[in-house]
């Protein structure tokens, strides 16, 4: 019965409609292919070019005293810079971002919350170079602190904050009201309810959001140019003096016309992609295990 009706239905379709449908769906499929080709292209090309460069020496040497034609030199100083800069950004923006989200979800009332919500939206759209310019104008010019890893951390924190707020806000809203009401009914004060009931329930989702935020800022180059500035030597102190960073290293080595430098750029790019993609994939797997998002 169903066979005959579906046969009839397709029999009634005019050839023109059937062809239009097939062509349109084919074009949509093509769009998927075109969207994914660059991803596959960039990743395979980077792996092909960068894998040969990676070695123990590459990760333990800096660029100090490396001449333009030398084949040695590595990313040690850049990795230290990136770890410190992203670490500073995370330390500043994660607690603050979660606090802002708690404010918006648990205490939201009045015009102040609306203003904060709109500003977080605006912050999401700040171009990374503008965040760099701001910290340059604030920390380097106005405060007279000079270029440093801390300045880079501040710029990255400006970029990371709205992402953390958005993700945490979304997760806090998913926490069922019954959980809060249950705690209140037991006489638990509001702040304890937030700390011991709401936050633990939302923690898996918040962790995912935070990891995606870290992955995003770890690859940022533009703000580093204006705040960490770049350095060929190891600078362990984030509070003072110019520092390098993995993305900045890729940018500088890619700008050189020499193949030796470009090779180092590929090695660093592969390291960077590995870190960022690993963070992203782990974050996505965490989402899958999170009951709230299910």
């Amino acid at each position: 019965m169903s066979l005959t009706t579906s046969g009839l239905a397709s029999g009634r379709l005019s050839t023109r409609r059937r062809v239009t449908n097939a062509v349109a769906l084919g074009l949509l499929g093509l769009a998927v292919a075109v969207a994914i080709i660059p991803l596959v292209g960039v990743i395979t090309y980077t792996v092909a070019k960068g894998a040969g460069v990676l070695s123990a020496r590459f990760f333990t040497e800096s660029m100090r005293g490396v001449g333009p034609f030398d084949t040695n030199g590595g990313v040690y100083h850049a990795i230290i810079g990136t770890l410190e800069q992203v670490g500073i950004a995370a330390m500043l923006s994660i607690p603050l971002g979660i606090a802002v989200a708690i404010y918006l979800v648990e205490y939201e009332n009045g015009p102040l919350a609306t203003v904060v919500r709109v500003l977080v939206d605006v912050m999401t759209g700040i171009p990374s170079i503008v965040a760099g310019l701001f910290i340059f104008a604030f920390w380097v010019l106005a405060m007279g602190q000079g270029f440093s890893g801390l300045a880079a951390g501040l710029a990255l924190a400006v970029l990371m904050l709205p992402v953390v707020v958005r993700a945490s806000e979304e997760m806090l809203r998913l926490v069922p009201a019954e959980l809060r009401e249950g705690a209140y009914a037991l006489g638990v004060p509001k702040w304890r309810t937030i700390v011991s009931v709401v936050l633990p329930t939302a923690s898996a989702g918040i962790t995912t959001g935070v990891m995606l935020a870290i992955a995003r800022v770890a690859g940022e180059t533009a703000p580093l140019l204006l705040t960490a500035f770049g350095n060929d030597s190891v600078n362990v102190n984030p509070l003072h003096g110019a520092q390098s960073g993995l993305p900045l290293f890729v940018f500088n080595q890619a700008g050189s016309p020499l193949p030796v430098a470009n090779q180092r750029a590929w090695g660093a790019a592969l390291t960077l992609i590995a870190v960022v993609v690993l963070l992203t994939v782990v974050a996505r797997l965490l989402t899958r295990r999170n009951q709230l998002a299910g």
């Binding site: 949509l28 769009a31 075109v34 994914i36 503008v130 400006v158 904050l161 940018f251 890619a254």
Partner: protein, 326 residues
Amino acid sequence: LQLSVKQPPDTANAPPRRSNRGDAVARVLFPLAGCIVILVMGSIAALLISRALPAFRSGGVHFFTDKQFFPEEKKNGFGIAALVFGTVTTSVIALLIAVPIALGSALFASEVAPRRVGRAIGSLVDLLAAVPSVVYGLWGVIFLIPHIIPVERSIDSAIGGVFPPLHSRSGAYGRSIFTASVVLAVMVIPIIAALAREVFRQVPRSHREAALALGATRWEMIRLAVLPFGRGGLVGAVMLGLGRALGETIAVAMLIGGSYVINWHVVEPGGATIASNIATKFGEYGPHGREALIATGLVLFAITFAVNLVGRLVVLRSVRQGLGRA
């Protein structure tokens, strides 16, 4: 937890003093966090404006009309006309390339492919967004430019005569506005696609089923039920993609020729955007030039602010309407 649970029942009406103090602190602390956001945004605007003022003043009207941007060499009369042209042109071309691909792949993922496949496509496209822009820049310099030159040459010889933007008068191609736009397109596709999938998810199932029940083909269902419903949200998604393209820095800085010209022949080498210009010139400029760069950054901030705001509003309105209709 045991703290307050142990309170005797007769104090139930008046909450325990101890927790009261904690709540009082919390009621101050969390709004304070919100105020920090306001403070940061306020100081971004204030600082950029105050640092940019000297450059605006010395540039005067020329700041907006002059094409040449040499604030170090020329203390008066440097302008961002060519930079704004480059910024807008690269972003618009990028959108022309990215929007059909992003919407097409989002439609395929949500309306055509089986659920599982659709989700896999979604996360693959999302992964595109995770690749740092400096890596796209590196890939563009080493791989794309050598490969795009012959393509541009053959496009030019095919339609360059009728369509001047794709014609290179010098016969040179490569580090052009067009090449930068192609890489920008790759970078905004995942952003638009992710938002578009979100929009399509809002389309009520009943609309789709109604179209199919009336005998529509799958494409007719998309055209008659899915697209009209999501139109507002899609406009918003494209605006947010535009906001991202306008501010994208490093990949463009690595790929664009870097010259202050307003040139409609977009495949010819040259051109610069506000963001790419800041990245390439910051290191070599002194205090005066850096102030001029901050002034250009303020203009970029204003443009992206406006675009993002409009985008958010459109998305918000369409989601609200969607909920009302559903």
